[in-house]
């Protein structure tokens, strides 16, 4: 056992963090592409870096500190991993190098109205033509290619030539989400089979990457909170000297640490363990609830100021909420976890 990051990973994390400190709000995507981050999970033979999920998670964690929104997870995980796992050689040759450089932006359309979450059965069907609406599709607004989950398997829709209507959602401040409506839209099969195994793996990867992003946001919220607890004086002393306030800060520290190591372990497990979903689902079950508590504390310590949009805290809060509501809620993951623990098996 060794929970230290390697020298390369530490360097990657530092680079990403320096990048975030430099960038603020401007469109950071070209620089992220130059740094090779969309390529991290893509195999080397397709122009990728062939790195691991932990590397990507470290980058996502840094981005969450901004927070810097980007199509990194949509392109580098949702689209790239779907195509890398399920696509034919031709499809991989066609799309992966372009996704690796970030010149092409991709995403995955899973949810439909009436589906409880990403693990629910999709209803959309169709072989080379698709009709119907997918909702909450991240970065569909800028996507060049969308992988669509249907009951009959994965489909690939090339946006340039397709008849597709994109309606951006009014959602949380974070990754742009959109409803994507197909109307007899031309689509091709992504590989063969029903794609269910691919989708399950991709969702697990995306859950970990988005968790890392939310953890970065939480860490930054903790820094803001601690700073505020030191600077803000009431009753003639720093509010951080009241135990009620100090303990909230300490609980944030303890919760974020737990989330971080559960997330790192999940990232590691997806590439090394025989039953990786258990680690992912453990981390997600824990982090959904823990980050909720973390942000309750952050807002409480900030006082009314933290509720204004003039203060940055609200942006991190919204990132964490978006994470909690995506890739499975607590009930879903606790249920998966209970199964992984062996519940329900008869003696």
């Amino acid at each position: 056992m060794n929970l230290e990051l390697s020298d390369e990973q530490r360097l990657l994390a530092e680079t990403a963090r320096a990048f975030v400190d430099r960038h603020g709000d401007d469109d950071a995507w070209p620089t992220m592409c130059d740094a090779g981050w969309p390529a991290l999970l893509i195999p080397e033979e397709h122009g990728g870096a062939g790195a691991g999920l932990l590397d990507l998670a470290l980058v996502c964690e840094a981005l969450g500190r901004g927070p810097i929104g980007s199509p990194l997870i949509a392109t580098g995980v949702l689209a790239a991993l779907s195509i890398a796992l399920a696509g034919t050689h031709e499809q991989q040759d066609r799309w992966l190098p372009a996704l690796a450089t970030g010149t092409t932006i991709g995403t995955l359309a899973v949810l439909e109205p009436g589906m409880r979450d990403e693990w629910d059965e999709p209803r959309m069907s169709g072989a080379d033509r698709l009709s119907g609406t997918k909702i909450l599709v991240p970065w569909a607004t800028r996507a060049d290619v969308i992988v669509v989950v249907t009951v009959d398997g994965l489909r690939l829709v090339e946006m340039a030539s397709a008849n597709v209507q994109i309606d951006e959602h009014a959602g949380l401040d974070g990754d742009p989400l959109a409803a994507v409506t197909f109307d007899s839209t031309v689509a091709e099969s992504l590989g063969t089979g029903d794609g269910a195994v691919t989708v399950a793996v991709v969702l697990d990867y995306a859950a970990v990457a988005s968790m890392a992003y939310a953890i970065g946001a939480a860490e930054r919220a903790l820094e803001l909170t601690v700073q505020h607890a030191k600077d803000r004086e009431q009753f003639g002393r720093a509010i951080g000297s009241f135990q009620a306030v100090a303990h909230r800060c300490a609980e944030m520290r303890a919760e974020i640490d737990a989330c971080r190591y559960l997330a790192y372990r999940a990232a590691w497990a997806l590439e090394h363990a025989t039953a990786p979903s258990e680690a992912v689902t453990t981390a997600k079950s824990y982090a959904n609830e823990a980050l909720r508590r973390v942000f309750l504390h952050a807002h409480q310590v900030h006082g009314a100021m933290g509720f204004t949009t003039e203060h940055p805290l609200h942006r991190f809060t919204q990132c964490a909420k978006a994470f909690e509501l995506s890739y499975g809620g607590t009930a879903r993951h606790r249920d998966r976890l209970a199964t992984a623990m062996g519940l329900g098996r008869r003696a």
Partner: protein, 388 residues
């Protein structure tokens, strides 16, 4: 002991509900949305309520009330809060600004300020908090210099809800004697918001643009006859006023309504038999009932002529955390689509739950933070020593 409302009270609730069902329009979403119709609507509704004797019904007849029981007043609060307070800012007038003037105001002040409140014609705001005086309200520094027949006020207030409504008057807390110990030397002024030197700047929030404001006061002249109560002894009024305020809001009632919305939603979605959904909603409901019964305890004390202090704080500890729990669990039950806001066509329950979650992020801060409530319970209620 009797946990039921009387027949008379139940009849009144039915009448009030019918009235509100016909009067409150479908678009009404409370005061904090960006909708030009909101303010005129609240004014119109308040004058209609006044016409029926339902606005200041618990006030004594000599001040324009009908001396109704505090329980009827509580029914009004519940029905209003469940519908996102269609009285807008005017609930503050009847809950504590009016009662403060009744108790501490001169006969002239009572004659001047109470009738317009009773008719539902006037908007007041509460100018207490300052940038450096939040929980430690008594450290406020907005200065009112005594110039004989008037005061000259300089300073800044913050988080002033409804100032941009625009409010007509402000219950303003000022320091009249900077040399005195901090709880002494504070006074309350009744300030006409159109007085030269007052600038209102809205502060944008997570819940939208009309939640609260900064109010700048620059050489604002306030006549002496607008001093409420004794000069330098305003803190006693603040303590009395905040206690009225704490029992004056039926926050649990909106939580109860949101729980009902969630029940409808999960039933429509075919999830009413899902054991986890049932568990989550039943838990919220039990917490809602706990908050409600504790509010009723505080009201019962008022009915008996006592002043609930610790009990008001206990009720508030429940109310505000209930609101946050309902928001969080509500979004969880909606799943990924819980991310969608009002206005998005795919937003479940028209984005209501999302808005409720957002709005209640600071509910454990407004009107005295959770920690301050707990300190009241620990120190005054349980006799524990103060933090060193």
């Amino acid at each position: 002991m009797d946990f039921a409302f009387t027949d008379d009270e139940e009849t009144f609730r039915t009448e009030l509900r019918a009235f509100l069902d016909s009067e409150v329009p479908d678009w009404w979403r409370g005061m904090f949305v960006d909708d030009e119709r909101a303010m005129p609507f609240t004014r119109e509704l308040c004058s209609k309520l006044a016409g029926r004797g339902w606005l200041t019904m618990a006030w004594p007849p000599e001040h324009g009330g009908s001396g109704a029981s505090v329980w009827k007043q509580a029914i009004v609060r519940e029905e209003m809060w469940a519908r996102e307070e269609p009285r807008g800012p005017q609930y503050m007038n009847l809950n504590y600004i009016g009662p403060l003037i009744m108790r501490f105001g001169s006969p002239d002040q009572q004659a001047r300020f109470l009738p317009s409140m009773a008719r539902g014609e006037v908007i007041w705001c509460q100018g207490f908090s300052e940038p450096d005086a939040g929980s430690d309200l008594a450290s406020l520094i907005t200065r009112a210099e005594d110039r004989g027949d008037h005061f000259v006020v300089n300073g800044q207030k913050i988080w002033t809800s409804y100032a941009d409504a625009p409010a007509d008057w402000c219950l303003l807390l000022v320091r009249t004697d900077p040399a005195a110990p901090k709880h002494r030397g504070i006074s309350i002024l009744l300030v006409d918001m159109t007085t030269p030197g007052i600038t209102v700047r809205p502060i944008d929030t997570m819940a939208g643009p009309h939640e609260f404001n900064e109010v700048f006061l620059d050489d604002v002249i306030v006549p002496r006859d607008c001093l409420l109560g004794e000069q330098d002894h305003g803190w006693d009024l603040v303590v009395a006023g905040l206690t009225f305020e704490r029992v004056g809001i039926a926050r649990y009632a909106r939580a109860g309504r949101v729980i009902e919305l969630l029940v409808e939603y999960v039933n429509d979605a075919g999830l009413g038999d899902d054991p986890i959904v049932r568990d989550r909603l039943a838990d919220l409901y039990a917490r809602y009932e706990a908050a409600k019964v504790l509010n009723y305890r505080a009201i019962s004390m008022q009915a008996a002529g006592e002043v609930p202090t610790i009990e008001a704080s206990v009720a508030r500890i429940h109310n505000t955390q209930l609101e946050q729990a309902v928001g969080h669990v509500g979004l969880e039950l909606l799943g990924p689509a819980g991310q969608l806001r009002a206005g998005d066509r795919w937003a479940p329950l028209r984005g209501e739950i999302h808005r409720y979650w957002t709005r209640n992020i600071p509910s454990t801060l407004a009107g005295g933070s959770l920690e301050i409530q707990k300190n009241i319970v620990a120190q005054r209620g349980l006799g524990l020593p103060r933090e060193p």
